[in-house]
Amino acid sequence: MPRKSFRQALNEAMRLEMRRDPRVFVMGEDVAGGKGASGEQDAWGGAFGVTKGLLAEFGPERVRDTPITESAFVGAAAGAAMTGLRPVVEIMFVDFMGVCFDQIFNQAAKFRYMFGGKAVTPMVLRATFGAGTRSASQHSQALYPLFTHIPGLKVVVPSSPYDAKGLLIQAIRDDDPVIFLEHKAMYDDMGEVPDGAYVVPFGEAGVLRDGGDVTIVAYGRMVGRAMEAAARLARDGIEATVVDPRTTSPLDIDTIVETLEETGRLVIVDEAYPRCGMASDIAGIVAEEAFGLLKAPIQKVTPPHAPVPYAPELEAAYIPSVEKIEAAVRKAVGWTR
C-alpha cells in the first residue's frame, strides 16, 4: 500500500470529494493565494500546505480565499451549508475559533434541532491544534473539549494518515457540522494510505494494540506516545491495550469499557487542559458506567492547568511525555488497596 504523509492524506480526501460531489468547496485564509504577492496563486495551499494544488484542479469558484475574519467566513459557510452546499473551511489555528463561537455554537450546531430536522448543516471546519512547535499560548491549544461540550457538533481528532483521510471523507459526507482538528506537529507523519476513497466512521474507536494489563486511551498526537509507552512497558511484561476513540463526539465508550473487562485499569492521555477535558469526561463516564470493572483508580496524564508555554524547555515539560504515560501505567498496575 502506498505510504503518504498526513498532509497528503488530507489533501487527497478533499480532492476526491470535490471530484465526486460538485457541491463541495474549500475556503479559508490563503487556501488559494498566499505569500502576500498580488495575484500570486496557490503559493502555500493554506498556512500548512494542506490545500496545495486544489486551486489548479477546481478553480477559484471552489477554492476561495477569505479575509482574516473567521466570524464572517464561518458564518458564510453555515449559510452555504444550509442552502445545499458542502463547505470545507480551513481555520489556521483552532485557537482562532474564539472569534466565531456564535456562528458555531448558536447557529450551525442548532439548525437541525431548532428547525425540527428540516435543515441540515453539512459543514466541515478544519483547524490545526496542539503544542510542540514553539507557537506559544495563543496558537498551541488542544481545544476539542470546548466543541465536544456542544450538542449538535461532531468532533474529530485523527492520529494517523490512514484515519485522517477516511475521517475527513466521512466528515465531508456527514450532514452535521464537523469540527476536524489536525495536530500541527503531525503533518509530515507517514503511513499507509490507499489511493481511492474510503470512510472511517465516527464513534468507532480504533484499537491499536491488545494487552491484558491496562487500557490506555489517547487522542491525536498522544496516540503515538501511548504506543511507544506500551512498547516499553511490554519489555517489562506489562501488556497494554491502546484505544484511540478518534472522535470525541460521538464518543465510543463501549469499546473502552469492553477492553476494561479484560484489563480493569484505565490510563487516559489527553493533550487538552485537565479541567473539563476528555480525560475528565471519559474518567467520569467510566466511573459511572463501569466502576465494578476497575481494579485501580483511573490515571489521567494531561498538561498542567496552565497556558501552553513558549520557552522550548517548558513546552516540552508541559506536553504529556512517554515517560509520564509509562509512570501512570506503572502506578495503575502497581496499585493496591
Binding site: M1, G166, P194, G196, A197, Y198, V199, V200, P201, E204, G206, V207, D210, G211, G212, A234, G237, E239, T255
Partner: protein, 377 residues
C-alpha cells in the same frame, strides 16, 4: 552450535505480521517431539495458529513463556537431541535470545503490486520462491469477502518449492472495484487475464470457496493454462450454502456484528482476532466495495442458494483435482464431497471449518503439494 541443536523462532505468517505471542506450549520441556508434531499455539493480531516442530528431538527449552508477545524471528524455544549437554543448550539460549533473525523469511522477498488487466486493476503479492525458471508457479484465489491475506499461513511454506502468487479478486482487498456483471465467467477471466499479463503460461490454481469456483471456471475455459486444481471448500458442487452468512457479511457495518459473522467461518469462533475484523471492515468501507460484493452475491448466491453448478465442468477436466474440506464447515456443507467426479482426491480435515488454510495450514499444504505432484510439474 551443534547441528543437533535447532532454534525455534517466532514464525512470520504473512507479510504484515511483525510480532506474535506464544499462546500456549503444546509440549513440555523435556518431552520428545516428532517432526511435524504440534509444538505451540502462536497468537497473532489476526488469528491463532499452531506451529509444528521442524525437526524431531527433545524440546529442551521453552524460552518464551506463554502469553508474551515477541518480534518475529525471536528465539522462543530450543529442540535438540537428548544427548546434547545442558551447557550447550544454555549457550545457544544466551547467545540467540537477544538476536532477532527473520532472514529466512525475508529472503523470499514478497512483493505487493497492482497490475492493470483490461479495465480491471488486480492487486497481488508475489513470493519469488524456490525452483528453476520452468517451475510451475502456484496462484492462490481467495473466497467471497476475503483477500490475499487469507493465505498468510501457507504462502511461505509453498514458496519453499515454487513461486507463489496470491491475488485479490476484483472488488476485494486492494484490487479495483470494477467487477462488471460479477459473474463467475468475469472473475475467471480476471484470473486468466492476470496470468496473461504476467506472462505465466501455466500455473497450479488453488481456490478457496468462491475462489474455488473461479479457479474451476478458469480451468474449464483455459485447460492448457492450468497444471492442477486445488479446491478448498469450493462453491459450485451443490445448491446449499449458508445464505445468512452472505447476507450478514454484506450487512455488517460494525466490529461487533462482523465478529459474530466471521466467527462462523471457523471451527473455533474465538480464533478470530481484532485485526482480522478491522481489515475486513476497512475493505468494506472503501468506495465501491459494498456494491461490488452485493453484485457478486446477487449473481452467485441469490436467495441464499448457490446459483452456479460446476459439477459437469468439473467432470470433464483433464488436470488433477484435489479437494480439501473442513469437517466443521458451517458455510458450505462437507456433504458436497460425496458426489465428486472420479479421480478427484479428497482430504477431509477434522477440527477445521470453512477456512482450513487458516485453521489447519500444515494439512492444507500437504494436500496441495500432493496435488501439484500428481501433475508432475
Amino acid at each position: 552450535m551443534s547441528a543437533a541443536v535447532t532454534p525455534v523462532r517466532m514464525p512470520r505468517y504473512g507479510m504484515t505480521m511483525t510480532e506474535g505471542a506464544v499462546a500456549r506450549w503444546l509440549v513440555t520441556p523435556g518431552e520428545t517431539v516428532a517432526a511435524g508434531q504440534d509444538l505451540a499455539e502462536i497468537e497473532t493480531t489476526k488469528i491463532t495458529n499452531v506451529e509444528t516442530a521442524a525437526v524431531a528431538g527433545v524440546l529442551r527449552r521453552a524460552v518464551v513463556e506463554a502469553g508474551r508477545i515477541v518480534p518475529v524471528g525471536t528465539l522462543i524455544g530450543v529442540i535438540a537431541d537428548a544427548g546434547v549437554p545442558d551447557a550447550e543448550i544454555d549457550a545457544v539460549v544466551a547467545t540467540q535470545s537477544a538476536l532477532v533473525d527473520d532472514a529466512a523469511d525475508t529472503d523470499a522477498g514478497p512483493v505487493d503490486e497492482v497490475v492493470p488487466v483490461g479495465a480491471l486493476s488486480i492487486a497481488l503479492r508475489r513470493t519469488p520462491g524456490a525452483g528453476s525458471s520452468d517451475t510451475v508457479p502456484v496462484v492462490l484465489i481467495h473466497g467471497f469477502g476475503g483477500d490475499r491475506d487469507n493465505w498468510m499461513f501457507v504462502e511461505t511454506r509453498l514458496a519453499a518449492e515454487r513461486p507463489v502468487l496470491a491475488l485479490d479478486l476484483p472488488g476485494h482487498g486492494a484490487s479495483g472495484t470494477e467487477i462488471g456483471d460479477g459473474t463467475l465467467a468475469t472473475l475467471a477471466a480476471a484470473v486468466t487475464g492476470l496470468m496473461d499479463t504476467l506472462n505465466l503460461p501455466r500455473a497450479h490454481l488453488v481456490g478457496h470457496s468462491l475462489g474455488g469456483a473461479v479457479a474451476l471456471a478458469a480451468a474449464a475455459a483455459r485447460p492448457e493454462a492450468v497444471a492442477s486444481l486445488s479446491l478448498l471448500a469450493p462453491v459450485g458442487f451443490g445448491p446449499e450454502i449458508d445464505g445468512t452468512y452472505i447476507a450478514g457479511f454484506l450487512a455488517a457495518e460494525r466490529r461487533k456484528d462482523l465478529k459474530d459473522i466471521l466467527g462462523r467461518l471457523f471451527a473455533d469462533a474465538d480464533a478470530v482476532e481484532r485485526r482480522m475484523i478491522d481489515d475486513v471492515l476497512r475493505m468494506k468501507r472503501r468506495d465501491g466495495v459494498p456494491e461490488a460484493l452485493a453484485t457478486i452475491a446477487a449473481a452467485l448466491f441469490p436467495d441464499g442458494r448457490q446459483a452456479v453448478d460446476l459439477r459437469a465442468d468439473a467432470a470433464s477436466l483433464a488436470c488433477p483435482v484435489a479437494v480439501v474440506w473442513g469437517e466443521a464447515d458451517r458455510i458450505i456443507p462437507i456433504a458436497h464431497t460425496e458426489e465428486l467426479p472420479t479421480g478427484f482426491t479428497v482430504t477431509r480435515i477434522a477440527g477445521a471449518g470453512h477456512m482450513p488454510q487458516l485453521e489447519a495450514p500444515a494439512e492444507v499444504v500437504r494436500a496441495l503439494r500432493d496435488g501439484f505432484a500428481r501433475a508432475g510439474a
